[in-house]
Amino acid sequence: MLQFFGKHGISVAFVLCVVIFSLSTQKFLSTDNFLTVVMQASIIGTIALGVTFVVIGGNLDLSVGSLLSFATVLVVDLHDKVGPGTAILLMFVFTLLIGSINGYLIGYLRLNSLIVTLGMLSAIQGITLVYSGGKNVDISDQTNTWFAFFGREALFGVPVPAIIFIVLGIILQIVLLKTGFGRKIFAIGGNATASLFSGLRRNRLVFSTYLLSAFTTGCAALILGSRVMGSQNNVGEGYELLVLAGVILGGTSLLGGSGSIARTVIGVLILAMIQNGLLLLGFPYYTQWLVTWVVIIVAVWLDIAAKRGKLFSTY
């Protein structure tokens, strides 16, 4: 029983959420509403994909919220100045540059990831404000730009943000499970010191996980920038914790060495469903936070309990 829940707990929770909400409100179980949930989850979810790699590698990334603000402000501001294509290119260049600073400090200098990304959270926020001069940025012609594709359009009835999230998720799941790179990420997180790799290769792998989380954050910025067609400088504030909550809910261990992209996706979707379902039921907005609290702890508890074979710890 315990083993079953440990292994499939997150899927059980997912189904449970769907059933409960479907029974209690008619509006929940519809294609339209499900697509809304996936779309609302897509920004946090896309970031969470990259962060899952970081966490499996045994580190944390708290700077993604600030980085999302930075990337969104950058791509929206450059859109009118250099055109959407170049704007997107430059956004990724600078976002990856910041990701590589994280990667260098944590991978090569081996500084503690919590503190480094905490410092970067503040520094990137400042850089964003200096860049924009503290002003909102806007795209002036919002109807005739192909930039609208990423956030506002749909293919075969499925919103593009949802497609980006899911396709990227499938690709990264394959990378994680089927490639040498993916296996090495598990290895460095699993047992960093006694790992099979020389120090240099370990450094490079950690570095690459931060490039990856910067990349998926850049993708999320495309969605966000395109949906809002403008940005405030603090637009990503607090996202780092919601992202982390999704990753943790998906069962990725903070100690590193275990985790899965598919489960991260389910974790993020559960959080989005809780929000959507509770709102449809007419609960106050913040009730979702209380439920999130309980869900996170119970999910991780069952996961751990299954691994140790006992419900309660012994110390």
């Binding site: 503190i115 520094a123 009730t287």
Partner: protein, 314 residues
């Protein structure tokens, strides 16, 4: 010379504090002033009180991300319940709420074995939700002026809030350094398994420290609300991050087993002095964020450089 190097190694943050004081004294005519120093102490006391508890929790090898939300909950209760319970009753309920949240975190971390980071991340989100629901997203106002008078009062020419902070810092230092509980804090953080084999009841020990930090976060929130005569639901946002920053600047290792109250005090003062000094120099707020973030990373780098050859590093 060796002595100086030794001091830099042990408490590099105090050297930094000293440099800041000298620099700001020369660059602003308003900095080197007894009233400004007592301002700095009052400003430092909010993060500082929580940081005392965080030092215990972090030396234990744990962390508490829920302190900002706990602070807001305690402040809201202590102000919001005054019409029903009076000041004393409301403040007691506020303090109790901190103890309860701390105990809840501690028990969950102890009994389930879930990492403290996750336990308190959940609490951080949930407790903030609780605050918003309880307050209906409104600020509360203390109608009895005695409440805000307390926050503005002085004793022996020192603001009462600063005095409370100093007293509790001394007590925390003595407890950590000279009591059995204090020694256990290091033992549990250094090696949990060995500590258990040595007969320390690790679970209850950690629970006690979570209760301590919950209480201190609540106290900090209530004292902050006396400065405002009010509470707001957004109070204390990001304070967990600043508290952790201060404690780490003070040399406490995130991996546990190493740290001191003296260092934490240095970290708290460093942040408060930097903020105060940059205000006086009118450094644009955008740059303040960049400077604070960079300093955190630089200090971490220096700390690692000095600590590594001795083998105490994380």
């Amino acid at each position: 010379m060796n002595r100086i190097i030794d001091l830099v190694k042990r408490q590099p943050i105090w050297i930094f504090v000293f440099i800041c004081v000298v620099f700001f004294s020369f660059s602003s005519p308003y900095f080197f002033d007894i009233r400004n120093f007592s301002n700095i102490l009052v400003q430092a006391s909010t993060i500082g009180l929580i940081a005392l508890g965080m030092t215990f929790v972090m030396i234990n090898g744990n962390i508490d991300l829920s302190v900002g939300a706990t602070l807001a909950l305690a402040a809201s209760l202590a102000v919001g319940l005054q019409p029903q319970l009076g000041i004393t009753g409301a403040v007691l309920v506020g303090l109790l709420s901190g103890i309860v949240i701390g105990a809840l975190n501690g028990i969950i971390a102890w009994k389930t074995g879930v990492d403290a980071f996750i336990v308190t991340l959940g609490a951080m989100i949930g407790v903030r939700g609780l605050v918003f629901i309880y307050t209906g997203e409104q600020a509360f106002y203390a109608h009895d002026l005695a409440y805000s008078d307390f926050g503005a009062s002085s004793l022996f020419g020192m603001p009462v809030l600063a005095l409370i902070f100093i007293c509790l810092t001394i007590i925390a230092h003595l407890v950590l350094k000279y009591t059995i509980h204090g020694r256990n804090v290091f033992a549990v953080g250094g090696n949990r398994v060995a500590a258990k084999e040595a007969g320390i009841r690790v679970g209850p020990h950690m629970l006690l420290n979570f209760i301590l930090i919950g209480f201190l976060a609540a106290l900090s929130g209530i004292l902050l609300s006396t400065q405002m005569g009010a509470s707001t639901p957004n109070l204390g946002r990001n304070y967990e991050l600043w508290t952790i920053t201060a404690v780490v600047l003070g040399g406490t290792r995130l991996t546990g087993g190493f740290g001191s109250i003296i260092g934490t005090l240095g970290g708290v003062l460093a942040i408060a002095i930097l903020r105060n000094g940059m205000n006086l120099l009118q450094v644009p707020s955008f740059y303040v964020l960049i400077i604070l973030g960079s300093i955190l990373i630089i200090v971490l780098f220096i700390d690692k450089r000095f600590a590594e050859p001795q083998g105490v590093g994380a």
